[in-house]
């Protein structure tokens, strides 16, 4: 009897294991391709333990590509160990079939030469037609997405592309409330009026502030200097002894978010692409000299932070954040989270605070005529390229075709929505995802609306507007692949406040053509990468030592010190890096 029971239980267990394994979704009996994928970052374990369980990824697995099923297995390193983890996998030849290139120190070309990744060029037309259509119809993308190997355009890695740039997360901010309260109309001399239509909602703030340029926003250096005069009054009136008008990054200059860098000739402080499409270096140019003259003038007038050079551990978007949060500073480079009345702590200095964003500045005061009234065009903004990935030789040629077909789906409108927003109601009805059920998203993460002009608008579920982490976990944003079509960015920006949207519109007011995206460094050869690294380290060190000295007056920008600086800087051969960038620009003209 006991033996019979034991046999019955054993058989029942075997039957259960055989029939209950696998995922829902009704996969057919076709071959399943296992795809391993290394990504640098996953989601909070509150939502799911493994990225394999991401709802959008699970939906992707219900589909077939190249006639085959797919099974995605993600490898996510511990936070902080991404580079070590990636290099270890590379050295031990234990890398995945797909890997994100963010932490790879070798260029795609080197990896192809080493036999680690596939040269995708022969397969692109057939297996990734959507991707090819996007990159062939957008001339901006060509220098980045193609590798030029022996004069031939090759596709060695795949980029995540957006139709329009995602709104910048940082830029120049200033205390609009101080301008409204302590300033006077520069034309009539009348005091400004300001207030809230709904005192409980800072987004209802209004004022009639006018700057010397005649508009309601600061555009020129002269507007800023007018504003600094007002900030001085505010600081004195409020009894602030340790405040100042504007903060400055410890190096005295900044490649990222240097909103005064592009005020003179439109370029930035280091390497950039000029209006003719040629590579240029501004570290020792007339533009840099004029910039320093302006900063030195501001320093002598007491408008700058006297201790700016000592704040070496502060990020460029959070310089002296204790004083910013205390409301003691008039203008600073900040983030979306600083805008509006979000910094109102209820104390004397922050009560009624209203932070507005400001566009990159145009010089109309300092230097020669050539340095004045030039619209900025070399600006740090979010790139239209969010990252790139490669497909390794761990994938067989057959697997490669399936992988490319799958990735190409993510460059369609439907696939892009899955990545950016998550699943629709219809898609979730197919999958019945437990995470969507748990977070009450059974009606889907978003819906589509066709507008009168035929274009598409996207609306995310309200629960996702208030919770960025949840929104990210319900979509597949960690996969740096795919295409964000037109209309995606407004939908992603829906969650931002009116003040944040105002700031983002100002920060991205001018169109960037000059700032060199770091994605371009994927085009470097091994020797070029080594040259760039050495030259950049030397120049950055030298500039960060000397620019603050010029600004504080310890060195004379109008005398022999400047000539010595230029001579010394040129000894570090910035022209070598300029030549490297020029080669890349020329190769895709």
């Amino acid at each position: 009897m006991k033996k019979a029971l034991a046999v019955i239980f054993t058989l029942a267990t075997i039957i259960c294991i055989v029939s209950c394994g696998g995922k829902t979704g009704g996969k057919s009996a076709n071959e399943t391709v296992e795809i391993t994928w290394w990504i640098p970052r996953g989601e909070d374990s509150t939502y799911y333990m493994s990225y394999d369980d991401n709802p959008a990824v699970r939906y992707l697995e219900t589909m077939q590509f190249n006639g085959k099923n797919i099974d995605l297995k993600f490898s996510v390193p511990i936070s902080g160990s991404e580079r070590d983890n990636f290099n270890t996998l590379l050295m031990t030849e234990d890398y995945c079939k797909i890997f994100d290139m963010s932490y790879c120190t070798s260029s795609p070309e080197e990896l192809v030469n080493d036999g680690i990744i596939w040269d995708l060029t022969p397969y692109m037309k057939e297996y990734m037609p959507h991707y090819m259509e996007i990159i062939e119809n957008d001339p901006f993308l060509a220098p980045y997405v193609y590798n030029i190997v022996n004069g031939e355009k090759k596709v060695l890695s795949l980029y995540s592309i957006t139709y329009e740039i995602l709104g910048n997360f940082m830029g120049l901010n200033y205390r609009r409330d101080w301008v409204a309260k302590y300033g006077k109309n520069p034309f009539t001399g009348a005091a400004f009026t300001y207030g809230y239509t709904d005192p409980a909602d800072y987004n209802t703030y209004y004022d009639d502030v006018v700057f010397p340029n005649g508009t309601s926003d600061p555009i020129y250096v002269s507007d800023w200097e007018w504003m600094f005069g007002i900030f001085e009054k505010a600081i004195a009136d409020l009894g602030i002894t340790d405040g100042y008008c504007i903060s400055l990054y410890f190096k005295g200059y900044s490649e990222a978010g240097g909103n005064f860098a592009s005020a003179f000739d439109g370029g930035t402080h280091m390497w950039f692409r000029d209006k003719s499409g040629n590579a240029a270096f501004n570290g020792s140019s007339e533009a840099m000299k004029t910039y320093i003259q302006m900063m030195n003038s501001w320093y002598r007038k007491g408008w700058l932070d006297k201790n700016f050079a000592e704040r070496t551990s502060d990020q460029v978007f959070a310089i002296d954040s204790a004083k910013i949060n205390s409301g003691k500073i008039g203008a600073f480079i900040g983030r979306r989270g600083n805008t509006g009345g979000q910094m109102d702590n209820g104390d004397k200095l922050t009560e009624g605070i209203m932070i507005y964003g400001a566009r990159p500045v145009i010089n109309d005061v300092y230097g020669s005529d050539a340095m004045k009234n030039n619209e900025p065009y070399s600006l740090y903004q979010y790139s239209r390229l969010r990252g790139n990935l490669c497909i390794s030789k761990k994938a067989s040629e057959e697997d490669l075709k399936t992988i490319l077909s799958m990735l190409d789906y993510l460059y369609t409108e439907e696939g892009g929505c899955l990545l950016a927003f998550g699943m629709t109601k219809e898609q979730n009805d197919v999958l019945q995802d437990p995470t969507y059920t748990k977070y009450y998203l059974t009606n889907g993460a978003f819906n589509r609306e066709t507008l009168a002009d035929g274009s598409m608008a996207y609306h995310r579920d309200e629960k996702l507007l208030d919770d960025n982490d949840l929104a990210s976990a319900m979509a597949a944003k960690r996969l740096t692949i795919g295409y964000y079509s037109k209309g995606f960015v407004p939908a992603l920006n829906e969650s931002y406040t009116k003040c944040a949207l105002q700031a983002m519109a100002e920060w991205d007011y001018y169109y960037n053509t000059g700032y060199i995206d770091k994605a371009l460094r994927n085009q470097f050869t091994s020797d070029e990468a080594a040259t760039y690294s050495k030259v950049y380290a030397n120049i950055d060190t030298y500039m960060s030592q000397n620019i603050p000295k010029f600004i504080t007056g310890a060195l004379d920008v109008n005398g022999a010190d400047w000539d010595n600086y230029v001579k010394m800087l040129n000894k570090y051969s910035p022209n070598k890096v300029t030549a490297i960038y020029q080669r890349i620009f020329d190769s895709v003209r």
């Binding site: 990468a529 690294s533 950049y536």
Partner: protein, 319 residues
């Protein structure tokens, strides 16, 4: 077989048999217990030495040790011919010398003086309080230093009473400001912990010697310098020699956290210089390994030299 003849003298030939084979036979368990220690050192200290080959290669993780291009001494050349290398070497040497002299003497003197304190509870309290900074992380130590040495910091105010200018001392680019700050931070953090071993050695000095000296009229000061200090001298020498070997490798984390472009001229050391050069936009494994190897070789040479000097001068040595 007995090791000794009946008259108690060890027979030379018998002693020859008292070899490691005999010892192993008698005490094999001790040797077996030692195996994990040997394995640990072999696996985690000797085998990884193979990685030093990166110092002679243009190392790429994708190519591995055997696929990367051999460049000979090119990485060392790049390191030594850097524009600021000499200044960096000067700073490293200066801070090393200060750590070895002032920094090493402090725990010894502290142990000597504290051992003379009679009040037990006071002595214990001071000892415990002196250990505490050792357990504070470098990041916190540097934050404290930044606050205390800022232009409005407590230490700055105290120094202003002594006639110094009120300034942010960490931003002072003049010699030897940063060197002294680094040394005294090291002393503040390491003095108590470093004195433990000396306190233990002092506690083991025979009381009979002190009693005899006291009877002969020696003062406490004289007893400290004529009895206590000479007795612990072999330990002091051994610790000093060990410290010499590590002199180029310690304190890098505090310097990295405290230095800034304004003080690169006096604060930049080999580690921080290598960090900037080798860990920029591209990681240069070859140069960073070459820098590490250079410092290790220098440290080893200094260790061997000081060991020999110590043996000749004081009859006491580490090896």
């Amino acid at each position: 077989m007995s090791l000794f003849k009946k008259n108690g003298n060890a027979d030379k030939e018998v002693l020859k048999e008292f070899t490691w084979k005999y010892d192993f036979k008698q005490n094999w368990m001790v040797y077996v217990l030692f195996i994990p220690v040997v394995m640990y050192f072999l696996i985690f200290h000797y085998v990884p030495m193979f990685g030093l080959i990166m110092a002679f290669e243009n190392f790429k993780p994708s190519k591995g040790f055997f696929g990367s291009q051999w460049v000979g001494l090119a990485n060392f050349k790049e390191l030594f011919t850097g524009d600021t290398f000499l200044k960096v070497l000067r700073n490293t040497t200066a801070m090393a010398v200060l750590n070895l002299t002032v920094g090493f003497a402090a725990p010894v003197l502290f142990a000597l003086f504290l051992s003379e304190v009679r009040l037990k509870h006071f002595k214990r309290s001071v000892q415990i309080m002196s250990y505490m900074p050792y357990f504070v992380s470098a990041t916190v130590v540097c934050s404290l230093a930044s606050e205390f040495l800022s232009s409005t910091g407590a230490l700055t105010i105290a120094l202003s009473w002594l006639g110094f200018d009120r300034q942010n001392w960490l931003a002072n680019p003049n010699i030897p400001v940063f060197w002294l700050i680094n040394t005294f931070l090291g002393i503040w953090q390491g003095m108590g912990w470093g004195s433990i071993i000396f306190m233990t050695a002092i506690a083991n000095v025979s009381h009979d010697l002190h009693e005899a000296a006291a009877i002969d009229g020696a003062t406490r000061w004289q007893r400290m310098w004529r009895i206590t200090f000479p007795t612990i001298m072999p330990l002091v020498l051994v610790m000093f020699i060990m410290r010499i070997g590590l002199v180029f490798r310690t304190g890098f984390d505090k310097i990295l956290l405290l230095y800034m472009p304004m003080t690169y001229d006096t604060a930049d050391v080999l580690y921080t210089y290598t960090y900037r050069m080798a860990f920029g936009s591209q990681i240069n494994y070859g140069v960073s390994t070459a820098s590490g190897l250079f410092q290790s070789v220098i440290g080893t040479i200094l260790l061997v030299i000081s060991n020999k000097i110590s043996r000749k001068a004081a009859g006491s040595s580490l090896i």
